[in-house]
Symmetry: C2
Subunit: 193 residues, 2 copies
C-alpha cells in the first residue's frame, strides 16, 4: 500500500475511534487493528500517539473550516456572514458528531502544536473581521476572533451536554452577544438599525 493512501486510511480510523471512545481510552493497538495493520506501522507514519492525534485533529478542523468558509462566502452582508458561518459550524458538528469530541480531547497534547492548528480558524475569522471593520489594529482583530471562536467552541460543548439546544438557538445566542451586544439588549431592544 502506498504511503499517502495508508496515511489517509490511518487518520480516518483515528478520527473515528478517538472521537467515539476518547483519546485516553484508546490504545495504539486498537487503532492499528481497525486499520488492519500492526502498531509499528502507525509509528513509522506519525511518530507517536500524540502525533496521530494531532493529525486527526488537523484533518477534522480543516473540514470544519472549509464548511464555515463556504457559508461565509455565500453571505451578502456582514451580519449574514457571521450568522451563516456560525450556523453551519454547529450544523457540521451535528452531522459529524464524533469529530467534535476530538477537539475536547485536546488534553495531553503539546499546547503549541494544537494552537497552531486552531490558529487557522482564528486567522480566518480575523480576516473576515478586517474586511468589515477596516483600520482596526491587528491585535484587536485577533482578540475579537478569539472571542468569537472561543464562544462558538464553548457553545458547542454545551450543546453536547444538553441536546435540547438546537443549532439555530446557539447561533441566536451568539449573535445576541457578539453582534447586538449587551448594551443594546440591556436597554430592552434589539440593536438599533
Amino acid at each position: 500500500m502506498p504511503r499517502a493512501e495508508r496515511e489517509r486510511q490511518i487518520v480516518d480510523a483515528a478520527v473515528a475511534v478517538f472521537g467515539e471512545r476518547g483519546y485516553a481510552e484508546v490504545s495504539m493497538e486498537a487503532v492499528a487493528e481497525r486499520v488492519g495493520v500492526t502498531k509499528p506501522v502507525l509509528y513509522t507514519h506519525f511518530g507517536s500517539k500524540e502525533g496521530l492525534l494531532l493529525a486527526a485533529i488537523a484533518r477534522a478542523r480543516s473540514e470544519l473550516l472549509d464548511v464555515v468558509a463556504r457559508a461565509a462566502a455565500a453571505a451578502d452582508s456582514p451580519e449574514a456572514m457571521l450568522r451563516g458561518g456560525t450556523l453551519e459550524f454547529f450544523r457540521y458538528l451535528d452531522r459529524r458528531a464524533p469529530a467534535w469530541q476530538l477537539f475536547c480531547s485536546e488534553a495531553g497534547v503539546t499546547d503549541t502544536a494544537l494552537e497552531e492548528i486552531r490558529a487557522q480558524q482564528t486567522d480566518f475569522t480575523a480576516a473576515l473581521l478586517a474586511a468589515q471593520v477596516p483600520g482596526t489594529e491587528p491585535a484587536r482583530l485577533t482578540g475579537w476572533a478569539q472571542v468569537i471562536v472561543g464562544a462558538c467552541e464553548r457553545l458547542a460543548v454545551w450543546r453536547g451536554q444538553d441536546e435540547s439546544v438546537t443549532a439555530e438557538q446557539a447561533t441566536e445566542y451568539l449573535m445576541d452577544m457578539v453582534w447586538s451586544g449587551l448594551a443594546g439588549l440591556g436597554r430592552g431592544g434589539a440593536a438599533p438599525a
Copy 2:
C-alpha cells in the same frame, strides 16, 4: 497527619506540579514525592489520577470564581460589572500563572465531571445576566453565559501564547464584542449612548 490537612497538602502539590509540567507528563509518583509520602496515600484520598486532577481543577476554579465574584460585587453598573469581572479574571491568571495551565490540561478527564465544575462559572455569569436583562428565557441566559465564559477562556489561552497582550487589552477586546457588539463597531463608532 489528619485527613483534611493531608488532602489540602496533596491538592496544593497537584495544582503546582500539574500546572508546571502538564497533567500527562506528571506521574503519581512525582506528586507523592513532592508531598513527601508514597503513592498509595494519594489513592486512598482521591481514588485515581483523574480524581486528583479533578480536585486540583475544582480548587483552582473556585479561587478564580471567588475573585471574579468580588470584582462584580464591587461594580456600580452593568458595564462596570462585566468589565471589572473580566479584568480581574485575567489578572488572577497573571498572578497565579501555573493554575491556568490546569484548565487547559482538561484532557483525559470525563467530560461530565469537568463540565460540572465549569458550571459554577457559567451559572454565576448567567445569574448576573438575569439581573441585568430580566424576563429573558433561562436557556438564552445560559447561552449568553457560555459565550462570555468561552470567550474569556479562549482569550486567556491566547494571552498564554502571546505574552504581549495585557489584561487590560484582553478585557477591551471582550467588551468590544460582548458589550458594544459588532453591529455598533461596524458602523464606525462606539455603542450608542
